[in-house]
Symmetry: C2
Subunit: 187 residues, 2 copies
DNA sequence: CCTAGATGGTAACAGCGTCAACATGAAAAA
DNA sequence: TTTTTCATGTTGACGCTGTTACCATCTAGG
């Protein structure tokens, strides 16, 4: 058979690496980052703990892989929101910012994991690239593009974190309000 | 003797709780949050691991106490920067914002710990109170005070996080630039 | 067909957070 | 002063964790 088998009877798993990342992502949806154990993920996938080491050098690498997948999801959420906006330009950019915050609120543990690691491969992430590219469309004239992008990113990231910590109410109207105030009243 | 003894010979420690928080804070300055173990802190203080449980119900409580101390330090850093500013009002408020970011950069692991826990007693923290109180002085007229405070907090918090993760260069000029752009050009 | 290498499992290690049971000593009660 | 009490510290143990060394199995290529 050419396709990888998924039978429980087969000795080899087929695509264990993907299964581990997937299961890890799933467990992040139910518990916090601290409750995520290498052994637990392996157990859930139905494989011995040490099998993980055939695909990841250590636990941290597995977490990084999960985080990387998270960044991919976040980037896509931003792009979807951007495209879905009726008007292009500044308004669409704000929509992508709101999507950023909403993603964090919808996936608290994952979002925390993504940014909780200095080791992370988050540099030059998908989400970051999106922000840098599209912020220019919304930057007011005469303002440094890079500075504006960083400012926008800071606001959405900070707002997401504060709402995640319960330091600000996770209110959709509030998100729009803060973003409008930051990105300029011309929205 | 009326004073608590600090001799290594004495069975009772004197003020173990404070010593544990202090040592935990110290270790946070050298390693990451993940490398901080209850046993390790107890060992460094020269006490058995289970002695910790006379002062904290579990490890999480110890971490929360450390975080709480961190919030106290952060609040003070903001107040100092605010007072040190020559002009009062908006300019001083911006200075306190810059102090917020610099505190995060100076104490990366501590800052991460402070905000990495949904369980944290970070609600109604010292730093938060300061922001809410003093943001009014800098809010442009006609803008909702609460919204402005949240926006300002989001920017400094997000900027701190991004710089901590290496997603933005930890540049002092950059901090001032982003803050100026956000808090209004009237600074 | 057979062999080599990728992918899996077993057993064991030290370290972790935590609990139950016991020891100590300082301060209140006698 | 003597006695008792109770907060504080210790020992030993349990199950769990990440990780390693070594062995088993399957599958692809000669």
């Amino acid at each position: 058979m050419k396709k990888p088998t998924n039978d429980q009877t087969s000795y080899h798993h087929g695509d264990l690496r993907a299964a581990l990342v997937c299961e890890g992502m799933r467990q992040l949806g139910e518990e916090g980052v601290g409750d995520l154990s290498l052994r637990g993920v392996a157990r859930a996938v139905g494989v011995s703990a040490t099998a993980v080491y055939r695909h990841f050098p250590d636990k941290d690498a597995l977490l990084s892989a999960i985080a990387e997948e998270g960044f991919r999801m976040l980037g896509q959420a931003q792009r979807v929101a951007f495209s879905a906006a009726r008007e292009a330009g500044a308004r669409a950019f704000q929509a992508s910012g709101a999507a950023y915050v909403r993603f964090a609120l919808a996936n608290p543990a994952l979002f925390r994991l993504m940014f909780a690691r200095p080791t992370a491969a988050s540099r030059q992430s998908d989400a970051a690239a999106f922000l840098r590219e599209n912020s220019a469309a919304s930057a007011p004239p005469g303002v440094d593009r890079g500075l504006f992008a960083l400012q926008a990113w800071s606001v959405v990231h900070g707002l997401a974190m504060l709402m995640l910590d319960g330091l600000a109410p996770a209110d959709d109207t509030l998100i729009e309000g803060v973003l409008s105030a930051t990105l300029g009243p011309n929205c």
